[in-house]
Amino acid sequence: MNIKLAVFKFASCDGCQLQILNMEDEILQLTGKIEIAYFMEATSRKLEEPYDIALVEGSISTKWQEKHIEKIRANSKYLIAIGACATAGGIQALRNWSKNEDYSKKVYPKPEWIDTLAESKPISDYVNVDYEVRGCPVNKDQLLWILSQLIIGKEPFTPTHSLCIQCKIEGNTCIMVADGKPCLGPITMAGCGALCPKYNRGCYGCFGPMDASQAEKLAEHFINMGMSKREVTLMFKGFTSWSKPFRKVVSKYGGDED
């Protein structure tokens, strides 16, 4: 047993780390292969740094986090950002389009006690990230696959093509074509199992842009379908809105308005 795994959390909902604990069938086997060195959600035991693998959940949104992530980077051989927050800033990155003080005022009676950075940003904006696992939350099977690859000494790999490909492989019916509903599948990265179309709704992009994502073209198509600019903006302004391709669409169709 020589792989030391650490799990860290920044601004997030815990859902991605929870996916590790959701591996009920494998978790005991897994802990036999990997030594959990730091994983506050699962154990109060801590091991000394350095770590072989650091899984990082959450976005960077406070000054303290900015420093902390650098420390983690320095102490980890392999740093993997997990989930939409860590790879694209998460839902909380919606505030990046607004003035931060407004936000504090809206939520807290005494906003002067709240200390936060103006923007919520992905880990890779601060430190070098070795691998990114997408999703809000990450897919459990994918996560297990990635851990398995690391265990055998392989740099992790997961497909980076469109959700549509997975959607068809799963045998779903295209809801854009058969229902006329908008779907972000054609520009979103596969990995979730094409869940939303499977449940008869359009993908809202929680796995973020695929390789060579044509987000702007799809947005244009939505407009041609009769959607308003505002509706199009909201579609792209979701859980991975701060990824570059989606951000472009949001700015183009009125990101600064609200």
């Binding site: 601004a11 815990d14 780390q17 929870l18 909380q92 006690w113 200390d115 919520s120 809000c136 449940y199």
Partner: protein
Amino acid sequence: MVETKIKVDYLARVEGEGNLYIKVIDGKVERLEVGIFEAPRFFEALLIGRRFHEAPDITARICGICPVAYIFSSCRAMEKLFNIKIPEEIEVLRKILYYAEWIQSHALHVFFLHAPDFLKVDSIMEIAKIHPEITRKALKLKAWGNRIIEIIGGRSVHPISCRIGGFYRIIKREELKEIYEKKEEMQNLAKELLEWIMTLNIPKMERDFENVSLRNDENEYPLIGGRVISNKGLNVVEEEFEKFIEEFQTPYSTALRYKIKGRGPYLTGPLARYNNNYDRIRGEVKETVEKQGYQAPLRNTFQSIIARAAEIYHATLEIGRLIDNYVEPQKPYIEVEVKSGTAYGITEAPRGILYHAYEVNEEGIIEKANIISPTAQNLAYIEKDLLELIPELLKMNYNDARLLAEQTIRNYDPCISCSTHFLKLKIERKP
């Protein structure tokens, strides 16, 4: 005199990371603070300008452990505002989904987070070494809960199938077969685990707290909607709830705190639910707990672990019954007609009552949002509980004191990350 400041670096109303700071001078408590310093994520602000139907998906992201609760509180609120009557079939499916989340979340807390305290170990991995069979069974039960959410919701964390008015598509009876087939096994497991939990060495510590929970008109254990009641006379409808509580903020925490106006801190969550609705818990559960003398009311917060285990058992039984009653609906959801106004909704999240309120304009755009999570509501009471524990703590050595304080906080299952790792307990003693 040393002044210590805890920097507020973290978030609002949701569980997350926190710390505890206690300062005692000359045996007198100078300061006692449970600081939750999760980074603020400003959910209420970022809901503004979004359309009503986005609320479930967005608020689900407040918590990865109980997303279903967030989804249903927001659905409940919007549906009430729009005067939608949810058909029985859809209601049944929702209840199954909600109970499944209880199972998953409670199992996580009971076995991963809380049980190690009672067994004086670090983690479930350690429990697995002492009680491999129990661990295996607990994992199985938890997996079943997750699997149910996966089948009905698409995935267990942040499910995608729910919408205002129902579901995005009809869930076929056939799809539920897989989980139904295991129900008896799971009910037996749940019973066995409840019995095991009751054998744990639970500290004795009676308190008189105000139990706040929902209570419904259907004569059922509460899940979605109902009146908010307490053992001290609170009895209000969802719309009125906020008027009876008072919020306050402390400089050491991003989380707001709440108390009942004119009375003070209160308790919500499984223990409160169990105490307030014991008459509606399944007979099989009652029989099991009463055999060991744990009928309601339980006045010891350390016994919350029993309430949780009892609710798991109750949930497994109810899921069986609900699937029996499930008829596929004609349409997966009820069409919505937008109305402007304020939407209020409360449901029973695994950790207690979860309050959502939205102001929606005539276009269906959210203009204001207010969400009060169970953990935020419990915070003030946690501090009160700790305060009462101080004399006890001062008698102990540092490590035991820290452990007891941590365990006390974990009794409330404040949230997964804070319940295990947040304690940097500082007890300053001045002779």
